[in-house]
């Protein structure tokens, strides 16, 4: 299976997203250049983390107009899987691939830390290898991760099972401080209505090797492999 990782100007998680399928799944990765109109036959597109266009104006606001985004959008419309991580999540929201927006962390500070997530929906193509309500630890690293949407959208997301990951208390985080950015309803990751676009602030691609502290992100890549290859 082939993962295509988009490099926008200012992407810096592209390398990690590129390595994860190769190192953890022994699958193929290719970089996709933002100026191209070619997905190079990728089965799964990853919009990686970083600071596309320096996050100037708003994170993701400028990158979503990149030429490659037309192809990514078409791929998503065809039902192709898109994994949008961190800055990728911000871009996906700006591009309208996912509802809502990501705003400045409530603390006004960038925060990098391992964070506990609860898998809210283990029935998506991205999460089938997790157990429902499983607690996992995955790093976050962002300054603009506060998920916001209007109440109606939030209710719909919850009703349709589109909330996939939620920040949750565990031994690392005190119960009152587990939500690292003030996201509404503790939302850390959501899928599109059709279930093929996942946006999340935490970095599963940084958690595929136990030597780095956690391999809890591995199951996400394995889920994709299992479902997309099938």
């Amino acid at each position: 299976m082939k993962f295509g990782i988009v490099t926008f100007p200012g992407s810096n998680g592209d390398y990690d997203a590129y390595r994860a399928p190769i190192d953890a799944l022994a699958e193929e990765s290719v970089y996709l250049w933002h100026k191209d109109h070619d997905l190079q036959g990728a089965d799964v597109v990853i919009l990686p983390g970083g600071f596309s266009y320096g996050d100037y104006l708003r994170p993701g606001a400028i990158a979503r107009f990149s030429p490659i985004m037309q192809e990514v959008t078409a791929h998503a419309r065809r039902g192709g899987p898109v994994l949008a991580i961190c800055n990728g999540f911000q871009i996906a929201c700006e591009a309208g691939l996912l509802p809502g927006a990501l705003q400045r962390n409530a603390s006004l500070k960038f925060v990098c830390a391992p964070i506990a997530l609860r898998v809210e929906n283990a029935d998506t193509i991205f999460t089938s290898r997790y157990d429902a309500r499983q607690l996992i630890t995955v790093p976050i690293a962002h300054g603009d991760g506060r998920y916001s949407a209007d109440e109606e959208t939030l209710d719909r997301l919850e009703g349709e099972g589109q909330v996939v990951f939620r920040y949750a208390p565990d031994r690392l985080q005190a119960a009152e401080a587990y939500n690292p950015n003030g996201s509404m309803r503790d939302i850390a990751g959501i899928v599109s209505t059709e279930g093929n676009v996942l946006g999340m602030m935490p970095h599963p691609e940084r958690a595929v090797d136990p030597v780095l502290g956690s391999a809890d992100g591995l199951a996400l890549f394995e889920s994709i492999l299992q479902r997309v290859a099938a």
Binding site: N12, G50, R104, L108, F110, P139, V211
Partner: protein, 766 residues
Amino acid sequence: MTVTARPGDPTITPALVAEHGLTTDEYDRLVAMLGRTPTFTELGIVSALWSEHCSYKHSRPLLKTLPTKAPYVLQGPGENAGVIAIGDGLAVAFKIESHNHPSAVEPYQGAATGVGGILRDVFTMGARPIALLNSLRFGSLDSARVRYLFAGVVKGIGDYGNCVGIPTVAGEVVFDPAYEGNPLVNAMCVGLLKEEELMRAVAEGVGNPIIAVGARTGRDGIHGASFASEDLSEASDAKRPRVQVGDPFTEKLLLEASLELIRSGHIVAIQDMGAAGLTSSSAEMAARGDVGVVIDTLKVPAREEGMTPYELLLSESQERMLVVAKAGHEEEVVGILQKWDLTAAVIGEVIAEPVYRVVEGDRVVAEFPGIRLVTDCPTYEPEARESADVKSRRARDPHAIPERAEEADPLWTLERLLLSPTIASKRWVYQQYDHTVRTGTVIGPGGDAAVVRIRGTDRAIALKTDCNGRYVFLDPRVGAQIAVAEAARNVACVGGRPMAITNNLNFGNPKKPEVYHQLREAVAGMREACEALGTPVTGGNVSLYNENPTGAVYPTPVIGMVGLVESLAHVTRAAFTTDGDAIVLLGDNTDELGGSEYLQRIHDEVIGAPPRIDLRAEQALIDVLLEAIRAGTVRSAHDVSDGGLAVAIAECMMMDRGRLMGAQVDLSPWKALPLRALLFGEAQGRVIVSTPDAAAVLAIASRGGVKATAIGTVRASSGLLEMTIGSRKLRASVGSLADAYHEAIPRIMQRTASAQDVALASDSVV
């Protein structure tokens, strides 16, 4: 060629020369070198190149004495960064740099551009940056201004490194009134390269084009390397910006483009335009290659209209590089830059004639004979005399200081020390740094040293910056030795063999005899320690004139150490992990108290001699520790430093806040020592390890000639620190120690956190 003054340039007067920071003697040298009066442009060039910052005139003779060689050193001092081989054809490039003065004026941008500069120094060597570190000094956090500086510097470092996508993996932060008004901001970068990709900034090849790459040149920072003067060029000066604004986004593009350029084979040299911008980068590259160059300032892409050669040459606009390309390959170079949305412009050429020439179209505005421009700068070895105040402080006996009543309970003292911002957890700081990007960080900030794996191998590098300025103040020679030894010890604690150092000499005004004394002695101490520990110096930076109204800062020679971890299996962390493990102390306790955080924090005294250091014993300790780690007998290792043994033990118990560990410790063998020296003294050469096999560790230590004592047991779920010292029994709850240690800085910063956030949240990058 005939040099002609530009219309509108000021005439050269003694006052103008003085404003440019040149002494009469230096000016005479310049005139002798030229055989005529310099033009305004020439005066500007020389004032920059002969500034302390670029010329090292007060430190060069001292730096020459440092050891720089080892079989694995591929590049020692003299280049943008040092480089050492780490096996498998791989090498690491690393360098440290200061941005103290810019950060004092504008903490956010000052610190951010400091990170930008050191990144460029490393990637110009052909290395991909893989880690950032920093070393920070501030005054007391009780002051609102200090909290503002601290918050701004941390945010500036974080935003820049985070945006470029280089993990910030380690560092140190010290708070002491000695740094009030003059914070120290040192940033270190480490990069990885293949040996054959090593690139040097040496101009060569007559006819090769010189190309300016990256951001356009503006009027920012023209005062930077040389001088501050308000009334130079009439018009815009009042508004001339003194601070440089960093653009990490452009830096990221520049990084990728530069590495692609270097690998393309189209260029022969590349150097960043850092201090004194175009002037120093072009002059230094020419001097290293012993060739001539000509630069046409009309061709330099400018951000503003009407910039003069003087301004274009001296601007310190950020995110710019100077490249010497192979003749005929200009288009390919421009093509690579265009791919990354950057501009490139041919602005000059390497010439056979041994001159450094600047033209503005048809007019020659500056011309110097060859490399003398760089080499003819005078050096100074001023008078050195130890300050009488320091001498008398050192002579005072710390044991004569009466204990405070509260000290009857040593746990009170312990808690006070854990609350000291210098000792307390720096999580508030490093949580703002992305330390997991690039998926290489095996041990991030918070440990004794960082460990970054080398992908494709089973190896890793261990990294740490260190310096205890108070020790250096009390005894510069010993203090500098300790700085090197402590960095080495930290690297060994995580399983790394210390390899080489970079250093940043942060001192006061060298023209003051007591400051030059500190500088000279500290460099001597550094030399001795580096020789003894086998860690050559591959580069560094000197920052002088760090003074505030009450005098110089503590002399602070920051050491940036790089070590090699031979197998990921050796990676060792500081926190206790396992119930029932034995706790073993390597090294010995003493009655020393001088220069300790205890005296400063509890008694507000900076007195006594810093702890003795025995460099041979340090080497033996490192050898024993590494042997025990490699034998697989060590479960955790943590060195004893600020705050002494009690603080170190407490840290082992609560460093991992999610898994607090209890411990039972018996220090009765040392019950004859003064209790406060035993618990809080900072004797050197000590490491606390936990092990399932104490006998094995003791045997290795005894073979290696290192004293080792089993002092206790890890009690995973007791929730208590239980200490016995003879008949004395102490009990503390780990939970409350952890609360003090982990919450000290957040609580202080909360007091005014919002004030800084407002001023800072808006700073462009976020």
